[in-house]
């Protein structure tokens, strides 16, 4: 079913069951956010993507990433209330991740350049804003190597039972989605160190560059049914081989 409503006065249509943030972005309306990624389910962690939703007599401030669109609502993305609360949440995040460029930029766009709060007393992973994108991505990819540990002010991202996880294949997807890039991944030409473990790389049979970790290849081949030799060569060498093949056929 289609629903129809307005965002900042613009008439928009969306499918029932869609989330407001996705619809807004599709229509070119920018709502800042830190914990949203289109590949995973929204959880509304960062509380930055706030909007004001008016429905009948009721006006509520809400996060847009996990708000299911409704027919006839009136959405405002830039009211005084929204700006005020977004700025406060960004100030809290800035105190948590003072060195993160992304957080600093977003905060300063909201007029927050310094924080009135003290540095965090408990900081197991500096600059982590607990958006859980790493955990959600790891789960979505089927690895389940990461988790959140504890709750409240002691919540952190970690490994189950604080031990290097057998499930981690060293794919570093966690880092690739991390908005503050706070996850430590160290690559050498032959090895990757991540989450307390070292993973050997498969090296490209042509150029010798690292292709993928061995564990990741085994997972991909057994779970995704890729051909055994799929990761023998790196993407670059695969491309140049393909273009050579292509050239020989065309000319």
């Amino acid at each position: 079913m289609t629903v129809q409503f307005t965002i900042d006065g613009l008439e928009v249509k969306a499918k029932e069951g869609e989330h407001l943030l996705d619809v807004a972005r599709r229509h070119g309306i920018d709502i800042p956010s830190l914990c949203h990624h289109e590949a995973v389910e929204p959880i509304g962690a960062c509380r930055v993507c706030l909007v004001e939703v008016r429905s009948g007599q009721k006006t509520t401030i809400t996060t847009s990433c996990n708000f299911l669109v409704e027919d006839g609502i009136e959405v405002h993305t830039d009211t005084a209330e929204v700006r005020k609360h977004r700025a406060m949440n960004l100030e809290l995040l800035l105190a948590r991740a003072p060195k993160s460029d992304v957080v600093r930029k977003l905060a300063s766009a909201s007029g927050v350049t310094r924080t009135r709060f003290e540095p965090l007393a408990y900081e197991p992973l500096p600059n982590c804003i607990l958006c859980e994108l790493c955990v959600r991505t790891c789960d979505m990819l089927g690895h389940h190597a990461l988790t959140t540990v504890g709750r409240g002010d002691k919540k952190r991202i970690g490994l189950p039972f604080n031990k290097p996880s057998d499930n981690c294949v060293g794919c570093a997807s966690c880092l690739s989605v991390c908005p503050t890039q706070c996850i430590s991944v160290k690559d050498t030409p032959t090895q990757r160190a991540i989450w307390g473990q070292k993973h050997d790389f498969i090296l490209c049979k042509v150029c010798g560059a690292p292709v993928i970790t061995k564990k990741h290849r085994d997972f991909a081949i057994s779970e995704k049914g890729l051909p055994e030799d799929y990761y023998d060569t790196c993407e670059k060498c695969k491309q140049s081989a393909a273009s050579k093949r292509f050239a020989s056929v065309v000319w």
């Binding site: 959880i43 509304g44 962690a45 960062c46 509380r47 930055v48 706030l50 401030i61 996060t63 996990n66 708000f67 299911l68 209330e81 005020k84 609360h85 406060m88 949440n89 809290l92 995040l93 105190a95 948590r96 009135r116 709060f117 003290e118 804003i129 607990l130 859980e132 959140t148 504890g150 709750r151 409240g152 002010d153 002691k154 919540k155």
Partner: protein, 616 residues
């Protein structure tokens, strides 16, 4: 217990049981609720059992270990039927005398009866004691009358009458009955129960669930615990009625594992209900299938929030999820799920049995029926009180509660658990119902009620509750997780004399964002203690900030202990008790506290008989 194959069989058995147990039969009810048990009521029960047997009185007197009577402070409680005589603080060595004097000769033992600490009056009968007199006990009353492990006992007091009546109605009619009664959820939010049932029943689904939320987590609150421990069959009956009305075949009780007695008693009750054919396949031959399982919660406060509860039952972390979709549409494993609190479920059978008109005649326009409160703190009579909706805070605190002990004056009452607001004396005439409490900046919550006297520092209280909630937050939302952490730091600044007036502004600003932008009710209500104390006790905050003074003499950083020249007669007791040897002075001479050594523990003040220790 025989398995009943038809409603008629059950009805016949009920009739037989009720007839065989006349209302005026002699019985002794020893409270075996958690509070009385802790006071040793089980040994009292054992001695009663032996004595009755050896004296042959066990034929005449029925002995029962019952659920909580509510007056926990005075335990172990022994109540006698039909006279209504209540003995309190009974010890095993008192039993012989009770048997001889009261059971045989019919005499009252005065020292075991209740004496009102305020008026010094003695009371023999339970119903005359002010603590009980001000109450209107519908749910709790049954607790004191029955042995929670006996299904027959429950039948005696009219149990399963509501379910039998429901079976004669169409499910929609049952929902209608609950709707008309005006019953609102007792878990805190106060959503109309019948409407919730209707939404759940209106979904298209092959599988529906009913859930009993028994994850009671408010510090100092034990209403649900007492009902599960004292009358588990009433919850089963309520859930049966709900399941029948909504077409659910599975029920789950989410019960704290910290309540071992509740887990055990509910387990026993489920077994006996199954044996009697009241749970399982084809209940009473009606073709209705329903069974209940217990899910033990791990003790996270946030799991009382329904979406977190669902996650926990499904085996995931107890983290709340955004609603809608509401559980009534998509709950456990994506199926329509109706979640009600213990008290709500226990009230349902009464409504079906006695009718919606009877129920809605109690209470106020918007809030019907009664509500159980856990009345604790600086109040003479602590325990569980069940009062009609709309009773004023004053009647509860000063009527049932008997006022403030030790001649101190009332300061505030916090309703609604850790995230409730603190209401001052000027709000004591507030009627206690769902809507008025919210208007005044507090809430009904699940029924916690903490009374505070003049010796309580309101900033310290706010800090305490924020500290509890920051620890219990699931940590999902920035506003709640980091916000409460920062709020705690700011309140600590106030309590420790580091704050400025800007700190108070920041507290208010931050609290506003936590309230407006957190996902679940834990976050949005968490700032009530802060905002309500700022509103009603702002001068106390200002005294901390501007004068660096704690008016109640609680915040250690802002107080000093000194000895008053005039009152000190040199008895040396303070010097002897001081753990830091900070007090010096010769016998019969003025004593002095070394401020460098003093850790402000307050022991000297507590032990001084001459009021010579001054806190300023």
């Amino acid at each position: 217990m025989q398995a009943f194959k038809t409603p008629k069989q059950l009805q016949a058995h009920r009739k037989k049981i009720i007839e065989s147990r006349p209302a005026d039969r002699k019985a002794i009810a020893v409270c075996a609720g958690t509070g009385c048990k802790a006071f040793g009521s089980l040994s009292v029960y054992d001695v009663f059992q032996k004595t009755l047997k050896s004296s042959g009185l066990d034929k005449k007197w029925e002995l029962r270990a019952t659920g909580c009577h509510g007056f926990c402070e005075r335990g172990p409680l022994v109540l006698m039927f039909p006279s209504g005589t209540l003995y309190q603080k009974v010890k095993p060595e008192d039993v012989d005398e009770i048997v001889e004097q009261t059971l045989v000769k019919g005499k009252t033992i005065k020292r075991l009866t209740y004496q009102d600490p305020v008026t010094s009056k003695w009371f023999r009968r339970e119903q005359d004691i002010p603590f009980y007199k001000h109450q209107h006990r519908l749910v709790l009353k049954q607790n004191g009358m029955i042995d929670p492990t006996s299904l027959d006992d429950y039948l005696t007091i009219g149990g399963y009458g509501g379910f039998l009546k429901a079976l004669k109605m169409r499910p929609a009619k049952v929902i209608d009955e609950v709707k008309k009664s005006g019953l609102r959820g007792r878990g805190g939010a106060g959503f109309p129960t019948g409407t919730k049932w209707e939404i759940c029943a209106g979904t298209k689904a092959t599988q529906r669930y009913v859930v009993c939320n028994a994850d009671e987590g408010d510090p100092g609150a034990f209403m649900d615990r007492s009902v599960v421990e004292g009358n588990p069959q009433s919850i089963i009956e309520g859930m049966l009625i709900g399941a029948y009305a909504m077409g659910a075949s599975k029920g789950i009780v989410y019960l704290r594992q910290e309540y071992p007695l509740a887990v055990q008693r509910l387990g026993l009750a489920l077994e006996s209900a199954r044996e009697a054919g009241l749970l399982g396949k084809n209940i009473l031959g009606t073709g209705f299938d329903f069974d209940i399982q217990i899910n033990k919660g791990g003790g996270a406060f946030v799991c009382g929030e329904e979406s977190a509860l669902i996650a926990s039952v499904e085996g995931r972390r107890g983290v709340p999820k955004r609603r809608p979709p509401y559980p009534a549409i998509s709950g456990l494993w994506g199926k329509p799920t109706n979640i009600n609190n213990v008290e709500t479920w226990a009230t349902v059978p009464l409504i079906l049995d006695r009718g919606h008109k009877w129920f809605s005649s109690i209470g106020t326009e918007g809030s019907k029926g009664t509500k159980i409160f856990s009345l604790v703190g600086k109040v003479n009579n602590t325990g569980l009180v069940e009062v009609p909706m709309g009773m004023t805070l004053k009647e509860i605190v000063f009527g049932a509660g008997g006022g403030i002990p030790d001649g101190k004056s009332f300061k505030a009452v916090q309703t609604g658990g850790p995230s409730g607001g603190c209401l001052p004396e000027s709000k004591l005439d507030t009627p206690v119902d769902f809507d008025t409490l919210v208007q005044e900046g507090s809430m009904m919550g699940s029924g916690g009620m903490i009374v505070m006297d003049e010796s309580t520092c309101m900033v310290d209280v706010a800090k305490y509750f924020v500290g509890f909630l920051k620890f219990e937050s699931c940590g999902n939302c920035t506003s709640c997780r980091d916000g409460l952490q920062r709020l705690y730091e700011l309140l600590s600044d106030v309590c420790e004399g580091r704050a400025s007036m800007e700190t108070l502004d920041l507290i208010e600003e931050l609290a506003g964002t936590i309230r407006a932008t957190s996902l679940c009710a834990l976050g949005t209500t968490s700032v009530n203690p802060v905002l309500s104390t700022l509103k009603y006790f702002r001068d106390e905050y200002v005294a901390h900030v501007k004068e660096k003074r704690c008016p109640a003499g609680v915040c250690k950083s802002l107080i000093t202990y000194t000895i008053d020249e005039k009152n000190c007669n040199g008895c040396t007791i303070c010097a002897k008790k001081c753990p830091e040897q900070a007090i010096s002075g010769k016998k019969k001479k003025l004593h002095i506290i070394d401020q460098q050594r003093c850790i402000k523990c307050g022991i000297c003040k507590d032990v001084c008989k001459y009021d010579a220790v001054i806190v300023a």
